[in-house]
């Protein structure tokens, strides 16, 4: 089967690791198929629930991007039956989609809060290397360095941190990322854009990491808003709906498993009756 292409651009659907649920050889009778397929679906549904729970938990996390489990019917490990239907499919996760669409901007009144409108990420210099974030709640440390919420320096376009004079006047951040104070330019906030946002992976603390060789570029004309923070783009109603869907699907699979079990019990009882 040809694998679907992944989306690029704003919504970075990505293809990823797959898990398969194979029936053990020699045990693939019709009844076991039913059980195994049901179990594979239950496992996937639990995972979908975990992801929905994480989205809802992060409904007020700045710059958070909602995630979704992508599911496929697994055509590779075909469940076989000697004298049953020949095409049975297990359910498997196909990957995870991250919705990189813009979150709404919320006014905060802090001069060092900045939000990006459009594509791209702030570049943060953590001890582990460059990390990327949409969370623009910056501060100034005691030395005047512009830092992320965790205290790691925010990188400017030259790859160096941006330093502000703590004793000079208010800080102005222009739409193109230029940080200035009393008319003096202190630097320009670097906005990194990736060719494929699907290559990013999350590491917590609102940070993303990218493979070394991921194609990227510095945004030439970013649009940055000072005094705003990008809210989480989790849509609560969608999440609650998908939560309801998942839990209903789970209970119907459970019911199916129960019926399958009952069926086999009855069969054994009847066949085991002498005479």
């Amino acid at each position: 089967m040809a694998r679907p292409l992944r989306w690029t651009g704003q919504r970075g659907w990505q293809k990823s690791g797959r898990t398969r649920h194979t029936a053990r050889k020699g045990e693939d009778g019709a009844m076991d198929n039913m059980m195994m397929i049901g179990l594979s679906q239950q496992q996937v549904l639990r995972r979908a629930m975990d992801i929905t729970a994480n989205n809802i938990a992060n409904v007020s996390t700045a710059g958070f991007k909602a995630e979704q489990l992508l599911v496929e019917a697994d055509p590779y490990t075909r469940a076989r039956a000697e004298d049953g239907p020949a095409r049975l499919n297990y359910v498997a996760e196909w990957g995870m989609g991250r919705d990189f669409s813009q979150g709404s901007l919320e006014q905060t009144g802090r001069p060092l809060d900045v939000a990006i409108t459009g594509d791209g990420f702030f570049t943060i210099d953590t001890p582990q290397g460059e990390r990327f974030t949409r969370d623009g709640r910056f501060s100034m440390d005691a030395a005047g360095t512009l830092t992320s919420a965790n205290g790691a320096p925010v990188l400017g376009e030259g790859g160096a941190p941006i330093t502000i004079d703590p004793e000079a006047g208010p800080v102005t951040i222009l739409a193109n990322g230029e940080v200035s104070q009393d008319g003096l330019v202190a630097g320009r906030i670097a906005i990194t854009r990736f060719e494929d946002n699907g290559l990013l992976s999350k590491i917590g603390d609102n940070l993303y990491t990218a493979p070394e060789d991921a194609p990227r570029e510095l945004a030439l004309e970013p649009v940055i808003r000072q005094g705003f923070v990008e809210s989480s783009n989790v849509r609560p109603i969608m999440e609650i709906t998908s939560m309801m869907e998942v839990s209903r699907a789970y209970s119907s699979v459970t019911r199916m498993l129960q019926q399958a079990d009952e069926l086999s019990r009855k069969a054994i009882e009847r066949l085991g009756r002498p005479g």
Partner: protein, 261 residues
């Protein structure tokens, strides 16, 4: 099931959110109070799919694994040091700072604290003190015979003595700024303490570049906006409820499995 503990972190986070909002609302009428905001960060991610694994014989590589997030954590509670509006009191010892800076206060234990709440009074000895009786530094003693006290925008304190035609200069008020105001530690009673995160106290004179000016006869009101806070409260409550629903849905799923024979 991860969903249970994930939703629990969400409920905990929203609880903190409500506590911060409650604190803001409780201090709506506190002089020079600066509102706070709880900020959240996503927790760790568990990699379920292997990163960089080959996804086909043709050598295509799985770009990222399947990542399952484990919830949310409170990152920090920020103080938003936006200027509060000035409210006129007419009291000659009410001083408000318009712009950046803090008054320096001597604590009874000899330490220093900083405040923007400038509703000062006169101690029995004539010293300029805070409403708690702490000395405003540098000490300014107002003589008993003073008819009126004038503080100009640059912080110069002058008195008009009975019978004098010319005002007499008593002293000069100072303002303190910090590299990172949000890093100050709130000590209650409208006082803040210097920390490693705030940077060292930087002394200056009102009106100097980077420092605010003094307004006599005014106090700075709290910068809490009731409407914003109530909206935030509603949002926090809804988010809490949603997390609670996830817990009950996940619990139902578990129960369904547990009841399987």
């Amino acid at each position: 099931m991860r969903a249970l503990s994930t939703a629990a972190t969400g409920m905990e986070a929203q609880q903190l959110n409500v506590e911060v909002i409650a604190h803001n609302l409780a201090n709506m009428n506190t002089t020079a109070f600066k509102r706070q905001r709880a900020e959240f960060q996503d927790l760790l991610y568990q990699n379920m799919g292997q990163v960089g694994a080959a996804s086909s014989d043709a050598g295509t590589i799985v770009p990222t694994g399947l990542q399952i997030g484990l919830g949310v954590q409170a990152g920090s509670v920020y103080r938003i040091t936006e200027q509060g509006s000035l409210s006129q009191t007419g009291n000659e010892l009410d001083l408000a700072i318009s712009g950046r800076g803090y008054f320096r206060i001597e604590l009874p234990n000899g330490g220093e604290a900083y405040t923007r709440s400038g509703s000062f009074s006169r101690s029995p000895e004539g010293q300029l003190v805070t409403s708690d009786g702490y000395l405003v530094m540098p000490g300014i003693a107002i003589p008993e015979e003073a008819r009126r006290v004038d503080v100009n925008q640059q912080g110069q304190v002058q008195v008009m003595m009975d019978g004098d035609a010319e005002p007499q200069i008593l002293g000069q008020l100072e303002l303190i700024t910090f590299a990172n105001e949000a890093g100050l530690e709130a000590a209650g009673d409208n006082l803040y303490l210097e920390t490693a995160a705030s940077g060292a106290a930087n002394v200056g004179v009102p009106g100097q570049p980077g420092f605010g000016i003094i307004r006599q006869g005014f106090v700075e009101t709290s910068n809490v906006d009731a409407v914003t806070e109530i909206t935030a409260l509603i949002r926090a409550q809804r988010a809490y409820e949603m997390n609670a629903r996830v817990i009950s849905a996940a619990d139902e799923m578990l129960a369904a499995s547990a009841n399987l024979r």
